[in-house]
Amino acid sequence: MGRYVARRLLQMIPVFIGTTLLIFLMVHVLPGDPIRAMWGEKAADPAQVASLRHEFGLDQSLPKQYLDYMVDLFQGNFGKTFGGRPVSEEMSMAFPVTLRLAAVALTIEIIVGIGLGAWAGLRAGRAADTGVLIFTLIVISMPVFVLGYLARFIFADELGWLPPNVQDSMNLQQLLLPGFVLAMLSMAYVARLTRTTFAENLRADYMRTALAKGLPRRRIVGVHLLRNSLIPVVTFLGTDVGALVGGAVVTEGIFNVQGVGNLLFKALGQREGTTIVGVVTIFVLVILLINLLVDLLYAVLDPRIRYA
């Protein structure tokens, strides 16, 4: 197991370098000059532009810029924003907020998603199953921002049950609505996946054995069926982090959550490359690590998988 983890970590390095290079290139090679953009429509002072370019290292060749960036990165230096604040400082403010939001979303996703999916899977082909199927289809069809405004309009503006904006990210009640919105899409997928694996595994031979052993239904479903059905769901949850990140940008915008999504969105508006690359780099790292974690969890859940 230890050797497997080490090998996986080593394999991550080229992917990590490749992905950060990709995002770096996307930010720096694509058209649009961030320094010029600071002046907007007005004419810029060429000398000032040049000095700013130099300050941010933008006058260097691209490979040099990337190398410098990576060297700094390994020393924990994410560079500075155009405003002069260290990017790492901005991120350390924003990341915990997003993390809390993601935690709320993930909890909702797991509890509601698996519950709903199991309920439908045990009734495969019946009205309850069709109901859940159509419900999840509708949820999946609604883009996050539609869902977000709809939820905000109904639960905050009209009913007044929950606050429309998040002022204090430590307040769980305030995070409930954005967390719910962020969770909805993945929750629908979790529900469908759980439903499918439940319905499929119900027909497995070992389920018949469990029945023949005279086990009570609670045990057949709760132990034999659930243990087998959770495996693909756990895999899904791991790979879903990327979607959660994308959804967070939109959700944070709608509910005014001061998290990474907002930070990134502001940076995009100002074409502030350092922050964009920094935030995405952290995201990539998190996604890679979570995928590793899921693979290891996979081995725990499924003894047939052995990592040498």
Binding site: D205, Y206, T209, A212, R219, R227
Partner: protein
């Protein structure tokens, strides 16, 4: 009847042997599957019975309804699409089909246990064999986790799995095919049931391992004086272990007989065909006999005798009248106990 339920199995067994009620009796059982192509009639009026200590072999091709009958007895039929429109399954004289679900569950595993064909898929892949064996004791006898594990090791020893103590925490895929089947047998034996249904227990195994597993099964059966229903399509397996044989075709029993008599003198053309298709050394060089045609489509079972399109002896009556399973006698009318045939021309087949 509930009093019998509550007495210990040992005393019940003795009592039952004396009063002559069979352990299990299947009466006029029908099973059908409702599919999108129509109604598949898998079992069409099966009757058979097993006594304690007795081995009944149910013989037939795939699709003959032998496994479906077993699943109906076990109460593990998928319903829907399966349906039991009529029939009775009496366990110690009590119809299990009319029992409440919970009552029936308590019989499963404890009184009637089942051994499945493919142990790899029949065992839960993500639970250790120790857990799956111990589960029987935890659920039915309320043992603690620790006690159950000790019992599981004991069971594994019993079915002669080497190094049981070390292997109790292993998972099914870590065992060889023969060992896995032993685990299946151990699981079925766990609570010393009165009746075991073994559905093709050796089909998935190597020939050399087959014999070992069959011997083990026979030995345990003798020891615990259990009834055994052995479902197979392999005539070779049957000869050594079975007391009596029921041959099934298209959801019906076409012939019943004590094991050796069936081999000596079959009373149904289908049984004859089956016996003739066994390769024999003394007929080396000759072409191997095969029953012509295919097993019937259960959605459209032929009228009359279901075997008529494939039967070398078929005549007009075979295409119109369904032959009943009738007792078979010697030419002089002497009864042949335990023998029966569902052929219009059983006399010609038996004596001709």
């Amino acid at each position: 009847m509930t009093t019998i339920e509550k007495t210990t199995s040992a005393t019940a067994r003795v009592g039952e042997d004396d009063d002559g009620t069979p352990l299990l009796e299947v009466r006029d059982l029908h099973v059908e599957f409702h599919t999108r192509d129509g109604v598949a009639k898998a079992v069409n009026g099966v009757n058979y019975s097993v006594r304690a200590g007795e081995t009944l072999a149910v013989l037939g091709e795939s699709g003959s309804g032998k496994s479906v009958t077993a699943q109906a007895i076990m109460g593990i039929l998928d319903m829907p699409p399966g349906k039991i429109p009529q029939g009775q399954i009496l366990f110690r004289g009590e119809d299990m089909l009319t029992m409440a679900g919970e009552e029936r569950r308590k019989i499963r595993g404890r009184k009637i246990a089942m051994i499945f064909q493919d142990a790899l898929s029949a065992l839960n892949p993500v639970l250790s064999v120790g857990y799956q064996l111990g589960e029987m004791f935890r659920v039915h006898q309320g043992l603690s986790k620790k006690e159950a594990k000790a019992k599981a090791i004991e069971l594994m020893d019993r079915v002669r799995i080497p190094a049981a103590k070390e292997r109790v925490s292993d998972y099914p895929h870590q065992f060889s095919g023969g060992m896995r089947q032993r685990i299946m047998i151990a699981m079925a034996m766990a609570l010393e049931p009165d009746l075991i249904i073994a559905d093709e227990p050796t089909t998935a195994l190597d020939v050399t391992v087959q014999a070992q597993v069959m011997d083990l099964l026979a030995e345990l059966q003798r020891e615990y004086h259990m009834g055994l229903i052995l479902i197979t399509h392999d005539l070779g397996v049957v000869a050594d272990v079975a007391d009596k044989i029921a041959v099934m075709y298209a959801g019906r029993i076409v012939e019943t007989a004590p094991v050796h008599e069936l081999y000596k003198r079959p009373a149904h053309p289908y049984t004859r065909g089956l016996l003739d298709s066994i390769p024999r050394l003394d007929r080396k060089g000759q072409e191997l006999y095969a029953i012509k045609g295919l097993p019937p489509n259960l959605l459209k079972i032929p009228t009359g005798c279901a075997f008529n399109p494939r039967c070398p002896k078929a005549e007009d009556i075979c295409r119109t009248d369904v032959p009943a399973l009738v007792p078979v006698t010697e030419q002089d009318g002497t009864e042949l106990p335990g023998r029966g045939s569902a052929c219009h021309f059983w006399k010609e087949t038996l004596h001709g």
